[in-house]
């Protein structure tokens, strides 16, 4: 079950872990010199505060950093001799590449399996706002309530998380029938048996993109009928490491993972009807400060530019009626009417089908969705800009119900893609 290539690369620990360790807290990193020490220290403090009386192991996995991240981790060994460092034995550094954190994640899971951990918490090395209490909040549902995966729900400004609100949450909910509000949290906790399943199913062997790794974990847990729950946490602030990704790359990375999971779990989601709530732990956290200003007009202009120039590309994916509706919408120079929910849901479903059928290069296909996403976001911002946060949440739930209502359209097109679709 263990990947021999990975085991060979593990640096021998100065202090060998006990044969069984109840909790493994892993921090996969890649060029996070500025934040990795903070995350490891906070995790260590969190483990201390948690004080469950169970043995624990703090692991930093890194094989590609070239900015001194590993030196930072080594510096922490003085403070915490039990900190384990995983990476290539020769210490050779490589360039950062997409999916690199997936490799580090696999190293951590391998170790969790090796020490027969009851729970494995994976933290994001770029976090700057992590609280020590997060460790207990994320681990308790597994250790005390026998859940298998804990997804975070970070506090955020009402219009933030457009990809999550407009695509990932409604799509995941409609497909798999579980209302996991933020599956793109980049932080999650797994039970020992789920770790075993992930490694056995080689969930992360397809190294598509580090983005969406978390969504993949949640989806696999749901499809394996493991117990899923979510926990309210404070705001998640991330420090930029290296050049920041543009919107189309983020969209392509996330949707690539989500659509891959759709292809892997067809038999499961085609049987699911409706959705059910997932248990919450903790209390919602209010985010302080005013929401950042958003230029909806600029987003709508991007959508209109896409409508003028990308019709040929979209025609390979979208049916004529959708193209006509988009053309009609693009005549409006303000997002007055906006993208209707059912139209938006069908567009996302058509792109998922296009991805499955490989109608064109998949990178091109996913990037071609960007102007459409901006069109939807502009409509959403126009509609909800002045509304209170509760109304925004209600609106997201309403959109999700439309996704559920449109699911027969997806199933029909998925089963008979050649059937005439006006």
């Amino acid at each position: 079950m263990q990947d021999p290539d990975l085991t060979e690369r593990i640096v021998p620990a100065t202090h060998a872990p006990p044969a069984t360790t109840a909790i493994v807290v892993g921090v996969p990193s890649c060029n996070h010199a500025g934040t990795v020490a903070l995350v490891l220290r906070t995790a260590q403090a969190g483990l201390g505060e948690f004080g469950s009386g169970q043995s624990s192991l703090l692991v930093s996995a890194d094989s590609h950093s070239s900015d001194g991240t590993r030196e930072q981790v080594r510096g922490l060994r003085g403070e915490n001799p039990l900190l384990r460092e995983m990476g290539p034995a020769d210490g050779a550094a490589g360039g950062a590449s997409p999916g690199v954190e997936i490799r580090e994640l696999r190293m951590i899971l391998e170790l969790a399996l090796q020490v027969r951990a009851r729970a494995c918490l994976v933290l994001d090395a770029s976090l700057t706002s992590m609280g020590a209490g997060w460790v207990a909040q994320l681990l308790r549902p597994i250790l005390d309530d026998q859940f298998d995966i804990v997804a975070p729900c970070f506090a955020r400004h009402k219009l933030d998380g457009g990809i999550s609100n407009g695509i990932v949450y409604p799509l995941t909910r409609a497909l798999y029938g579980k209302r996991v509000r933020q599956s793109l949290g980049s932080v999650f906790a797994l039970s020992g048996r789920l770790v075993e399943r992930f490694l056995a199913r080689r969930v992360w062997d397809i190294e598509v993109s580090a983005l969406g790794t978390d969504a993949r974990a949640v989806t696999e847990a749901i499809c394996g009928e493991y117990a899923v729950c979510q926990v309210f946490l404070g705001p998640a602030e991330h420090a930029a490491s290296g050049p920041s990704l543009d919107l189309s790359s983020i969209l392509a990375g996330v949707l690539g993972s989500v659509f891959d999971e759709m292809n892997r779990n067809v038999a499961f989601w085609q049987k699911v009807r409706g959705s059910e709530p997932v248990r919450w732990f903790g209390t919602p956290v209010e985010i302080g400060g005013s929401a950042p200003p958003v230029d909806a007009h600029k987003m709508w202009e991007s959508f209109r530019l896409g409508c003028r120039t990308l019709q040929d590309v979209w025609a390979a994916v979208l049916p004529p009626a959708t193209l006509l509706a988009l053309k009609y919408l693009a005549r409006d120079d303000s997002a007055g009417a906006g993208l209707a929910d059912d139209l938006w849901a069908r567009i996302v479903y058509d792109f998922a089908l296009g991805y499955r059928l490989h109608v064109m290069n998949r990178g091109h296909l996913l990037r071609a969705l960007t102007p459409l996403y901006l069109g939807w976001l502009a409509s959403f911002v126009r509609e909800m800009g002045a509304a209170p946060a509760q109304d925004v949440e209600r609106r997201v739930q309403q959109l999700s119900m439309v996704y559920e209502a449109q699911k027969p359209y997806l199933i029909s097109r998925w089963r008979w893609p050649d059937r005439f679709n006006p």
Partner: protein, 233 residues
Amino acid sequence: MWDQIKDALYGATHRVLVGVANFLPGLLALVLAVLLSSLLGWLLGALLGFILRALDFDKRLQKWGGVALAEWSPKNSPTLLLRKAVAWTVVVLGWLVGLTAFGAGVTPQLIPHVVESLPNLGTAIIVVLLGVLLARFLCRAVLISAVNMQIQSARLLSLAVKWLVLVFAAAMALDHLRVGGDIVRLGFAILFGGIVLSLALAIGLGSKEIVSRSWERQTQSKPEPSDDALKHL
């Protein structure tokens, strides 16, 4: 006098008729060869199309990852592409047979020349095909990226890239076939150099401030200021 005129007329008529009699069978043979080869090409193409459709070739190819071939094919159908390729090969062979029958003096030299240049022709066709595939891929990539960067002239930019690659591929193919000689090379160099020069002038004169600001940011490793404060994830 009259007899001499009569002889001259008879002689001319005789020569014309002999010429026509010599020419007509060759012409008829050419026409017949072209007609028959067209018919045969159409039949073979139809038969191949029927077999490939029965095998669901287009979908199988898509599953095997032959998306690029499908994209390049007329009406996105590799079956149609193969059908047309077979039909036109037979028609071209028919023309060669017809030409051989038509002029014994010309075509015996033509056939070995055609056979000799077949490998070069094949390479040139492959170069053109690869050029077309690359041009289509780059055209779409540039179009989508430019739209996502909100460049208003995205279509123009993508067409420029497409034609640049196509012209480059065509110049390579012609050079390989030794058609046009230095004219093709010079023409391409002038065209390519002109485009690069005009781009350099446009950037140098028209957008020097943008370029210098961008360069400054690159060298100082400062992140580009974002006017969109929204977090998408």
